[in-house]
């Protein structure tokens, strides 16, 4: 998120502090590490490198909260695997020891959706909505947020509906963005996954995609550029983060978090619609 969508990072902080969550950047953090790159290379390497963040969080006595599904699944699955496999835990600690770190499994990993829904609660979120959003959105929750059955998708829908947004159901709601497929089969990744969703959004004339994962955002951004630069096809549906919509419904203005700088599709039409309250 810090490298791809700073407007969403700012909105996430605004929303969290507005709701009274004791939320700050994790100090001494490194990349999650990207599971789609490291896990296929060697699962033990992925376990070792991901454990650096777990060990650091333990040392700082904090809970890791991820908004990106990729970061969440990397931290969460790594922790689960270390809990279930003492030999892997030993291997990881042997490697971490060289950098003066150790995992004792005394750490918790949560998704941002979980914090909002389970710790803050939907009623408190509803109480803070002062500017209901009269917009139609297409959801893109992302595959890794479906790890725990329909729990996180339900949180996403309920929170988005609390903002006043109408979620338009489509047959492609569960279709993967294709990010993890990109290295291996770029054509399928772009044209058979994300492209299908983008075409659907265009046909349904929705106001925005709402997503929560910065990995999925990366793929949307890439696909928009590929379609435009290599195919001459222009998509105009802006890709906004869940926190941006939540912030707007709490009464923040787009300029409070830099929504107008959102790439690759500026949300000009969406901001105009929200301003006019149509």
């Amino acid at each position: 998120m810090p490298a791809k969508m700073p407007w969403a990072e700012k909105a996430t902080f605004l929303v969290s502090r507005h709701l009274g969550i004791d939320f700050d950047y994790m100090k001494e953090t490194v990349c999650c590490v990207r599971p789609g790159v490291w896990k296929p290379l060697n699962p033990d390497w992925w376990l070792t490198l991901t454990s650096q963040n777990l060990a650091t969080a333990e040392k700082q006595n904090i809970t890791i909260v991820d908004s990106c599904n990729g970061c969440y699944i990397s931290h969460w699955e790594c922790l689960q695997e270390l809990k279930e496999d003492p030999e892997k835990l030993e291997m990881v600690n042997r490697n971490l020891e060289k950098a003066g770190l150790k995992v004792t499994l005394n750490v918790e990993v949560k998704h941002f959706l979980q914090v909002l829904y389970e710790d803050v609660g939907i009623e408190k979120i509803k109480e803070n909505v002062v500017n209901p959003l009269n917009i139609r959105i297409m959801r893109h929750i992302g595959c890794h947020a479906r790890k725990h059955d329909e729990r996180f998708p339900r949180y996403f829908d309920e929170i988005m509906r609390a903002t006043g947004a109408e979620i338009v159901d489509t047959p492609y709601d569960k279709t993967c963005c294709g990010l993890l497929l990109y290295f291996g089969d770029p054509n399928a990744s772009v044209f058979n996954r994300i492209g299908v969703k983008m075409q659907t959004a265009k046909e349904l004339d929705i106001d925005a995609y709402a997503l929560i994962c910065s990995g999925c955002y990366d793929q949307f951004e890439r696909a928009v550029k590929i379609y435009k630069d290599e195919k001459g096809i222009v998509f105009e549906t802006p890709i906004v983060h869940f926190s941006e919509l939540l912030a707007l419904s709490f009464g923040y203005k787009p300029e409070d978090f830099g929504m107008m700088y959102c790439r690759p599709i500026p949300p000009t039409k969406l901001m105009q619609k929200l301003k006019e309250g149509k």
Binding site: E28, V30, L49, V190
Partner: protein
């Protein structure tokens, strides 16, 4: 367009080329001069090498350049992201882990030259 189409995606090709550029021995190129030499699967695929190199060198697989820093400032955030870009000690620890656990060696990455052997 369906999967398997021969049409190339230029941005993917650029990423692949970037991977080849950080490879000391391009096997396809070597095969022109040594046709009998058996080719093998390198420890890291060419398409992932540029991301991996960035991960080793800055602690993040994603690019953060002036444009990203400018966007961050416009959004009211610190220019440098709260990642290994600012946490130099964390990056040093990561490098130590990569080095001493043998990951760098197995991947064949020479940190001085910034190149993968194969």
């Amino acid at each position: 367009m369906v999967s398997g189409d021969s049409e190339k995606i230029k941005s993917w090709e650029r990423l692949f080329e970037a991977g080849l550029k950080v490879t000391a021995h391009n096997q396809a190129e070597d095969a022109k001069y040594y046709p009998l030499r058996k080719q093998f699967r390198p420890p890291a695929p060419n398409i992932a090498k540029a991301s991996l190199k960035r991960d080793f060198e800055v602690g993040l697989v994603y690019y953060v350049g002036d444009d990203v820093e400018q966007d961050r400032a416009l959004c009211g955030l610190d220019k440098k992201p709260p990642t290994a870009h600012v946490f130099k000690e964390a990056l040093e620890r990561k490098r130590k882990i990569l080095e001493e656990s043998g990951i760098m060696k197995e991947l064949g990455f020479d940190k001085k030259k910034g190149l993968f052997k194969y």
